[in-house]
């Protein structure tokens, strides 16, 4: 389980106040809001890339309010993937488990497993240069989930994909996070993405409060 309990985060002059929600194992929370509403700020705080003013964060039942990003067991997929230009696809998938000091044989098996789930087995020896948008997105997701994080953070990760690729990638991602039972936080401003992937949808209001969105 992931618990976000009454956290407040400052982003310049703007303050996101008293944000609370929880994500059950294997479930996805979609967080919506207008551009500049603080969605990414909140996600950065959850990942440990930004300090919180108050409140607490528990990821995988471990309190990590003040923990360094590396100690939070999260996986982050930024909007434009940010693949490492000097690593092959295989090295991208192996990087997380390598950092978590997995055994070599376990890393190799996990790379094959993730590549199989995301349909990128044929790309394992390719460099990021030249990958299509959909392929690069799958690699970024694979890199984030390879070390079996307790929380997967998708920061407007599907923006910029054409409709066909978007459907294809989201279907694969949904199947993967359900199979691996990863708690997921999806940040988006597209209601269609939120409906497709999210089990619950929250919205950041202009006041800086987060409210559950009730859909028809």
């Amino acid at each position: 389980m992931t618990y976000i309990d009454n956290i407040s985060v400052r982003a310049g002059e703007f303050i996101l106040a008293d944000v609370s929600f929880e994500i059950q194992r294997g479930k996805c929370i979609a967080l919506m809001g207008k551009s500049g509403s603080g969605k990414t700020t909140l996600m950065e705080a959850i990942c440990g890339l930004r300090e919180v003013m108050s409140g607490s964060i528990k990821i995988g039942d471990v309190d990590c309010t003040n923990a360094a990003p590396k100690d939070r067991m999260v996986g982050l997929v930024p909007q434009d993937n940010v693949l490492f230009s000097t690593m092959s696809v295989r090295e991208h998938l192996a990087y997380g488990p390598l950092l978590r000091k997995w055994k070599r044989a376990d890393i190799d098996a996990r790379v094959e497993e993730v590549a199989d789930e995301l349909g990128i087995k044929d790309l394992l020896d390719r460099q990021p240069r030249g990958l299509s948008g959909g392929e690069a997105k799958r690699v970024a997701i694979g890199r984030a989930i390879a070390a079996k994080p307790a929380l997967l953070c998708l920061d407007e990760s599907f923006t910029g994909l054409d409709e066909e690729t978007l459907q294809e990638v989201m279907t694969v991602v949904k199947a993967t996070i359900q199979r691996e039972e990863i708690s997921t936080l999806l940040i988006t401003h597209q209601i269609s993405e939120a409906k497709l992937l999210g089990d619950v949808i929250y919205q950041i209001k202009e006041s800086g409060r987060v409210e559950k969105l009730i859909l028809d």
């Binding site: 990942c47 440990g48 890339l49 360094a68 990003p69 590396k70 939070r72 999260v74 996986g75 982050l76 930024p78 940010v82 490492f84 230009s85 000097t86 690593m87 092959s88 090295e91 990087y95 997380g96 950092l99 978590r100 460099q127 240069r129 030249g130 890199r143 984030a144 390879a146 070390a147 994080p149 953070c153």
Partner: protein, 294 residues
């Protein structure tokens, strides 16, 4: 790297008046550089024509060989030291915001904007007239303290390296910082979220992506050190066989009226610079697929 990527910034087709402006600018400046070299070569050839066995007596060749060796050694050490100091400083300035950052940033440009002679003079004063004696205690200078350990900097090979490094490092820092600025900071953030410490993210993700920029910084530092003259003359002197590097050799030959010798050394410096820069570029191209994880 495949051709399509290599040529992704290329524009095909004729440029018209705009293209003529670009081409003319290149031609004018390139012509100046080529003419400088051609004039030097022509001068030496004419001298050799007038006196066929003159080349052998135009220069003190054993002494010149010592100068070449010291030049190559000191430039290489200065360039390596410059890169070692430029990488952390460049990363610090590129990624962190802290109190006094803009002042520090400006201070790091001092060796770039100051006349080289002033840097040499300042080094000379630093090592020979500083720090002052306090209540009669202490040596007269930094070199005075160092002499207690059997060391001395002024007028030694160390002074040559320090004079070169002081200026070359400033250029290396600028180049390395520009390289880090071009790398998305989120690449480190992604690495950190999946388990890397800040340092590990730097060495695993940033350094391999900055490889070319760092090599470029080293090359620039080496070339800058090769051309350094003022600080070396003032701080290290130009003692034959001891602190003489090629730039000071040119000065010494001119001073003794041996213009032919000075021009030959100048051509040697041009050749040395070209060989080094082309070698580094060739190695960098070959290393395009360089990867720390392999």
């Amino acid at each position: 790297m495949n051709n399509s990527n290599r040529n992704k910034h290329h524009i095909e087709g004729k440029g018209g008046l705009f293209g003529a402006w670009l081409g003319t600018s290149l031609f004018v400046y390139l012509a100046l550089i080529v003419l400088l070299i051609v004039a030097d070569v022509w001068y030496v050839l004419a001298a050799c024509w007038d006196s066929p066995d003159g080349v052998t007596v135009m220069l003190d060749w054993p002494n010149l060989w010592d100068s070449v060796k010291l030049t190559f050694l000191s430039c290489t050490i200065s360039a390596i030291l410059s890169v070692i100091i430029a990488v952390p400083i460049g990363y610090l300035l590129s990624r962190y915001r802290f109190f006094g950052r803009s002042v520090i940033d400006a201070m790091l440009d001092i060796p770039v904007v100051l006349p080289p002679l002033v840097i040499g003079l300042s080094l000379l004063i630093l090592f020979n007239n500083f720090p002052p004696k306090i209540l009669g205690w202490g040596a007269e200078s930094l070199d005075g303290y160092l002499s207690d350990f059997g060391m001395r900097v002024t007028n030694t090979k160390l002074a040559v390296i320090l004079a070169q490094f002081t200026v070359a490092a400033a250029f290396a820092i600028r180049t390395v910082k520009a390289t880090f600025d071009q790398i998305d900071p989120r690449s480190e953030q992604v690495a950190m979220t999946i388990g890397a410490s800040r340092g590990r993210a730097f060495f695993d993700v940033v350094m391999p992506q900055s490889y070319r920029g760092i090599v470029a910084a080293g090359t620039l530092a080496w070339a800058r050190a090769l051309g350094e003259f003022g600080p070396i003359l003032v701080f290290a002197g130009a003692t034959k066989g001891k602190t003489e590097v090629l730039s000071t050799s040119v000065y010494l030959e001119i001073n003794t009226g041996n213009i032919n010798g000075a021009v030959i050394i100048s051509l040697l410096m041009i050749a040395l610079a070209m060989i080094t820069i082309l070698t580094v570029r060739y190695c960098t191209e070959r290393g395009a697929g360089y990867d720390l994880h392999r």
